[in-house]
Amino acid sequence: MRAAHWLAPLVLVTLILAAWETSVRLLGVPAYLLPAPSAVAYAMVDNAPLLLASAGRTLGMALAALVVASVVANALALALGLSPLMESAVRPLAVVLQATPIVSIAPLINIWAGLDHPERAVIGLAALVAFFPIFSGAITGLKAVDPDLERLFKLYGAGRLATLRRLRLPSAVPFILEGHKVAAGLAVVGAVVAEFVSGSGGAQGLAFRLLEAANRLQTAKMFAALILLGLMGAAAHAAFQGLETWVLRRWRGR
């Protein structure tokens, strides 16, 4: 039964690829419209060094963005967790910022950071996208405290700092992990969007390879880049899922 569940997606992918390959060949679809899977595979192998290097750059920028977002979001959430007044001050601002479509900010960030250092603009925008899930996860988590445990801390005379360290921060761990998992996926999206917007090849990431291939009507190469992007996103998600499961198992002891 387990083997069947492992095999099922592989069988489905094989079937789709086979149908794609035969129909493209039988109908004589031009390669610039829809290349056959075999052509995509050739493009992948032919351009492997370039595509992999670009994928590495995109991944590197997304991870750097994730680190920046994590540091800033957690620090800010902690500061607000200590002061309810600060939180009231910041909350409406955060809501407006979050509701603004990030893509529309991209040209601005490009002007500020990207003219001389395109990778900084990419990291900045990806960090902005990754910021909110981590921030709202941490803020929610710091408040998701068992009210009876809170009473207990009050009963034993715990101060604000002791309550934060011994109660609210550990309570927030599952929420913070969940926020990072979502943010990891979004950071890749942010990196790709930023590179699209900057339009120059300065950052040399996968998104630029996509644009470059599109402009030259190298559709098979576009597909190859898209597949790498998809695999990268899936791998990032799986890595953070694994990390989350591992930490939570230690956190609650099973």
Partner: protein
């Protein structure tokens, strides 16, 4: 001369939007006494407990407390343990918050007192419901409280575990004699646990009936089948029924 550990003098608690939750209600706790508060759900029993713990302030009336900080302990309906911390760390918490150096040593002793030797490193999720409640009790005892407040501590446990824990609480009481307030809506449990049973009216709760259970504490074996126990259970039940009908 009877020494009072804590008392509520004609206290009233009003919640904005929900109206009055409790009172006017008075209750005086003598040193080393076990009092059971019985009443229907929503009658303000838990509110009365939080007033005694100084976790809430009355809208009017007065709360008198001679037990200082760290001398009052509360056990809630759920074990209320920190899921990320071991049983030992959970029990050590009150001492750590008070900055005591030998917190872990005392916590180990408290765990032993409630029969949880060997479970020190277990996380709450690895404990059974009864074991988690024992850990919660150990945490309440670790500060050697003069006032122990139990808010329906057995509500989520099966009958066998409830009975074992009831006797354990009596044994603990016999060794350090804290004043205990025990909130429940189970009449038999109230009569078994307490030297004095106080029945409250439906919310806002007031005093409906009060009786002393003139039998030794801890309870002798077979106390539940004795005529005195049956008779008191009937009296308290009747009083509760009358209070709810009124």
């Amino acid at each position: 001369m009877i020494e009072t550990v804590a008392a509520l003098h004609a206290v009233q608690v009003d919640y904005a939007g929900r109206g009055r939750a409790l009172g006017p209600f008075s209750l005086a706790l003598e040193r080393g006494e076990i009092v059971a508060l019985v009443g229907p759900s929503g009658c303000g029993k838990s509110t009365a407990l939080r007033l005694l713990a100084d976790l809430e302030q009355p809208t009017c009336g007065e709360v008198e407390r001679t037990a200082g900080r760290g001398e009052t302990s509360v056990v809630f309906q759920a074990p209320t343990l920190m899921p990320w911390a071991s049983a030992l760390e959970n029990v050590a918490l009150p001492l750590r918050l008070a900055g005591q150096a030998d917190a872990v040593l005392s916590a180990g002793q408290a765990l032993a007192r409630v029969g949880l030797i060997g479970a020190e490193q277990a996380k709450p999720a690895q404990l059974s419901g009864g074991m988690a409640m024992r850990a919660s009790l150990a945490r309440a005892l670790v500060t050697e409280p003069r006032l122990l407040l139990l808010d329906e501590p057995f509500a989520a446990l099966d009958e066998i575990t409830r009975r074992a824990l009831a006797d354990d609480i009596h044994a603990i009481w016999a060794s350090s004699r804290p004043a205990i307030v025990f909130v429940t809506h189970n009449v038999e449990e109230a009569v078994y646990m307490a030297g004095r049973v106080v029945v409250m009216t439906p919310g806002p709760g007031r005093l409906a009936f009060e009786t002393r259970i003139e039998a030794p504490l801890p309870r002798p074996p077979q106390f539940r089948t004795s005529p005195l126990f049956r008779e008191q259970v009937e009296r308290v039940s009747a009083a509760l029924q009358q209070a709810m009908a009124a």
